[in-house]
Symmetry: C2
Subunit: 266 residues, 2 copies
Amino acid sequence: MKIGVFDSGVGGLTVLRALLPRMPSAEYIYLGDTARLPYGSKSQATIARYATTSAQFLAARGAEFLVIACNTASALALDDIRQAVSVPVVGVIETGADAARRSSSTADVMVIATDATVASHAYSSACRERGLHAIEKACPLLVPLVEEGWIDHPVTREVLEIYLSELMQDTARQGMNPDTLVLGCTHYPLLREQIERAVPSSISVIDSAEATAEGVAARLGVKTPAGDTGAVCRFYATDSVEKFRRLGSRFLGQPVLHVELVDLGG
Amino acid sequence: MKIGVFDSGVGGLTVLRALLPRMPSAEYIYLGDTARLPYGSKSQATIARYATTSAQFLAARGAEFLVIACNTASALALDDIRQAVSVPVVGVIETGADAARRSSSTADVMVIATDATVASHAYSSACRERGLHAIEKACPLLVPLVEEGWIDHPVTREVLEIYLSELMQDTARQGMNPDTLVLGCTHYPLLREQIERAVPSSISVIDSAEATAEGVAARLGVKTPAGDTGAVCRFYATDSVEKFRRLGSRFLGQPVLHVELVDLGG
């Protein structure tokens, strides 16, 4: 089984990282569209154009199953991608909303994500379809903070406190009783501990990367992972392979090797 | 005189803002390559490709003089741009270094900029050619903080203190006696007051947008601005014109009207 994983950058490697132990005998090809990132601040038309060419690239390289590990592309371009390729496509929003439904008792959930993901209200819609009420909050500084490497850093704690207290105030104003927080961006799992410390302990934090890997394994009928850990991973990037290797290793949790530069135009 | 001003986004509007009172009777066309921003984190090859197509677009629209208001493109792609178009091209690095030379008595200067600008050492080279010793510091969080609108904000003050105290420590370690700080990114003029408060009062802060406008006016032989303030400005963006208008007005200091969407491919 050859699984294609796509993200605008290295963040989707948190999804690949979660897939590896669940399906260790699959073959993975990963594309980071680093020449055109970030998607999070761009328009739907532009994101759809970038995401479909990226998905087509992975399909052309033999991917039999596509995981859209980019929240923004999942939110804004999933239908476009499904029309552009003939293989099954799973996005992180649906699987994140599925995990929120399993987690929440109060049916009130919070989602933090990029500007574009929040503006699309894709999480709200996916949650509504599952009988949940979601409130979304854009946290545009978290990606640059993660990329700066300021993980366990006072500034990051302060920024998280500001964003999360504003979010909690919004839920209170709306009379909500949230018990679940979805990390709706692939960079956020690196801040999971800091986020868990910044919210009341009654709140369950859902990592959409983990949720997606679970969803993909379920969809492909994988129950118990084989002992085999010889997964083959190939990496492609549309910009500097050196930077992809360097930043990517932090997200994958292991060294990223053999990155190939590809030109998708533009 | 039709002057083309190019930036990866809205930041270059600080340069246009500085040009307007100096050359109020010129006609301006501004291109923000917002579909492909930010350039600051990308590779030289990618930046050169994006910047030359952008410059060619402005030349094709009749620009008789090009101002590269993007520090990253000025640092990494000025020669490529000059080869790609037949009109005169001025970048922000040279004019910033000229202003630093006029300002500095100790010949030791500091520059803050994006990752890519710093990695190129374009400011160091331009300063060295002018008999100055420059030390450069990448401040990747400042652009997202400005775009979040956190201008006079405790987090921004804290981030500035961290970056600038690291920079001052580096100058001390090198036995430098800096008296000048160049703002080597078009977003930074919005933080000028905060930056001036965070450095010793003996340090002169050079705004590369102002420096560039002065340099362009000098190059074009404009001495005293005419009373005329009827400058015509046309704006083009490669992504959401609505977002360009909204964010851009903050940088231009006046409403941005008539933004036209253009497709440069990619």
